[in-house]
């Protein structure tokens, strides 16, 4: 509760400073709108449904692509760690592609798929998959071999060892990779949505770009706030529980 109050005071303080700057008229109100007008925009957009539907469109793109990226990336990571051939091929490819800023997939995706959902899906998958592969492989390789040996003396073999020893042993790395994949996917999806109008659905990025075209700073800032809240919520809902679990079991934050 005390932490909540502290955070609340901090953010209310920020709003007050913002309103103060607005009232001081240092900059044109077109460039620095008042927090109230941003609030009014958000309220209006929420009431007429644009905000809700844009959020749904964006999150759906993100979640579908992310889930698919995980479904492909995790097994590939395990296979890469297990087979030398795959490490020297797919592993190397993943390492190279991971260094590529994931936004770079956007032009390619647009040329291949046009301004469609498929393009967005592709961009998100590309953002997710390489980090996940690399982190999973890294995690598997960094498990002390003594765990697998101990398991073997107790009768664990093959698939059982992979599911009960290698997977949980690599989990600290895997969660790290999932988090990074999420961040990459989220950033490149936003870039894509701002960059081009995807005709099959208007996401948050579209609304933001729309605000720029209308010179509506309250809209631009309002959407930025929404993105920020989504980012925070994703962290708290998707990753914080895993990280808490890892800290509790491993003792250290890894």
């Amino acid at each position: 509760m005390k932490r909540f109050i502290r955070a609340a005071i901090f953010f209310v303080g920020l709003l007050v400073v913002w309103e103060g700057l607005y009232l001081a008229h240092i900059w044109s109100p077109v460039l620095v709108p008042s927090p109230l007008s941003v609030g009014r925009y958000l309220w209006g957009a929420a009431l007429d449904g644009t905000l809700g539907s844009a959020t749904v469109v964006t999150l759906r793109r993100l979640l579908y692509g992310y889930a698919f990226g995980l479904a492909i990336g995790l097994p590939l990571g395990f296979l890469t760690a297990h087979f030398r051939v795959l490490k020297d091929t797919i592993g190397l490819l993943a390492l190279g592609l991971q260094t590529l800023p994931s936004v770079c997939w956007v032009p390619l995706a647009l040329l291949w798929f046009g301004q469609t959902e498929s393009a967005m899906f592709f961009v998100v998958v590309m953002g997710t998959i390489w980090s996940v592969i690399i982190a999973t492989e890294d995690g598997v390789r960094n498990i002390p071999p003594i765990y697998a040996r101990a398991a073997r003396t107790m009768g664990s073999r093959g698939l059982h060892t992979w599911v009960k020893v290698i997977l949980p042993g690599a989990l600290p790395y895997i969660v790290g990779g999932m988090k990074q994949g999420w961040a990459f996917a989220w950033r490149s999806l936003m870039a894509a949505e701002i960059y081009v109008t995807i005709l099959s659905g208007f996401g948050l990025g579209f609304l933001m770009n729309n605000g720029r075209e209308l010179n509506a700073m309250d809209q631009v800032i309002g959407i930025m706030l929404v993105l920020l809240v989504i980012g925070l919520l994703a962290d708290k809902i998707l990753f914080a529980p895993w990280e808490r679990m890892l800290r509790r079991r491993w003792g250290t934050a890894k």
């Binding site: 003594i146 003396t153 107790m154 009768g155 989990l171 509790r248 003792g251």
Partner: protein
């Protein structure tokens, strides 16, 4: 299967190590880790393998465990040659090798879950039994990082005992502990060994530890790893590591050990 039959005191195994040789080839060159090592271990005997670092103690133990293959020779357990790890031989490692993602109880349950024919309730009862035996019943729900070094090794002991093996292989399990904790564990291990009737091979390079625990102390020498000498320790149990008679045995073993090291240095 019932809990009673699962917890019954098994007949300890008889082991025979016959002419075992093992070499390693690596970037650093060629190491002759074991050279025609032979050793017979009686049912329920407590054997201590003693020797300077690098004389092949861990290698020999790994071969008995089935984790590594001998180049030459074989290890026979109750008439059958050992080819791979089996639940009749459980291993305890120098580092605890406990799984950090499982709590204490689930670590002990790991091997039990791999045993067929045991129901969940029975497995739990068996795990409880061994946690009680090592005095850690209250810490079932703790995670590994929350335990002291001595407690970790107790859990590792419980985990090794839980599948009811007939042979216990221990590779310097107490080396990282302080003297006081170690003394406690010597007492516990002797008590458990007598209660549960296991054949134990215990690796150490601590002479007193060897004299305190072993029925026989097998002294090994390095480059290549060989058995140099063996000592019978026929003191009554439980033994106190600080007793005078034990010190006398330890002194004799120490003298030989120093000789072994001097020889090894001459050979190099």
């Amino acid at each position: 299967m019932t809990v009673q039959s699962e917890l019954r005191v098994e007949v300890p195994a008889k082991l025979s190590i016959q002419n075992v040789s093992k070499s390693f080839h690596s970037a650093g060159g060629h190491v002759h880790a074991l050279d025609r090592v032979s050793l017979d271990v009686a049912e329920g005997e407590f054997i201590c393998l003693l020797g300077p670092s690098g004389c092949g103690k861990s290698t020999l133990l790994n071969i008995v465990a089935g984790l590594e293959q001998a180049d030459d020779g074989q290890v026979v357990a109750d008439g059958g040659p050992i080819r791979e790890p089996g639940r009749d031989r459980m291993m305890m490692f120098q580092e605890s090798a406990l799984f950090p993602w499982l709590n204490v109880r689930d670590n002990v349950l790991f091997g039990l879950k791999l045993k067929p024919n045991l129901r969940r309730k029975e497995r739990l009862e068996v795990a409880q039994f061994y946690l009680r035996l090592v005095g850690l019943e209250k810490f079932q729900r703790s995670f590994v990082h929350e335990l002291s070094g001595g407690m970790k090794q107790r859990v590792a002991l419980a985990r090794a005992l839980a599948p009811n093996p007939r042979v216990l292989l221990m590779d310097e399990p107490f080396a990282a502990l302080d003297a006081l904790t170690r003394e406690q564990l010597y007492g516990d291990l002797q008590r458990i060994w007598q209660e549960r009737k296991k054949t134990i091979i215990f690796v150490t390079h601590n002479v007193r530890e060897a004299a305190c625990l072993g029925d026989r102390v097998i002294l090994m020498s390095p480059h290549p790893g060989r058995i140099q000498e063996e000592f019978k320790v026929d003191l009554p149990r439980p033994r106190d590591i600080n007793s005078v008679e034990l010190a006398r045995h330890a002194t004799a073993i120490m003298a030989s050990l120093k000789g072994a090291r001097a020889n090894a240095e001459v050979a190099e």
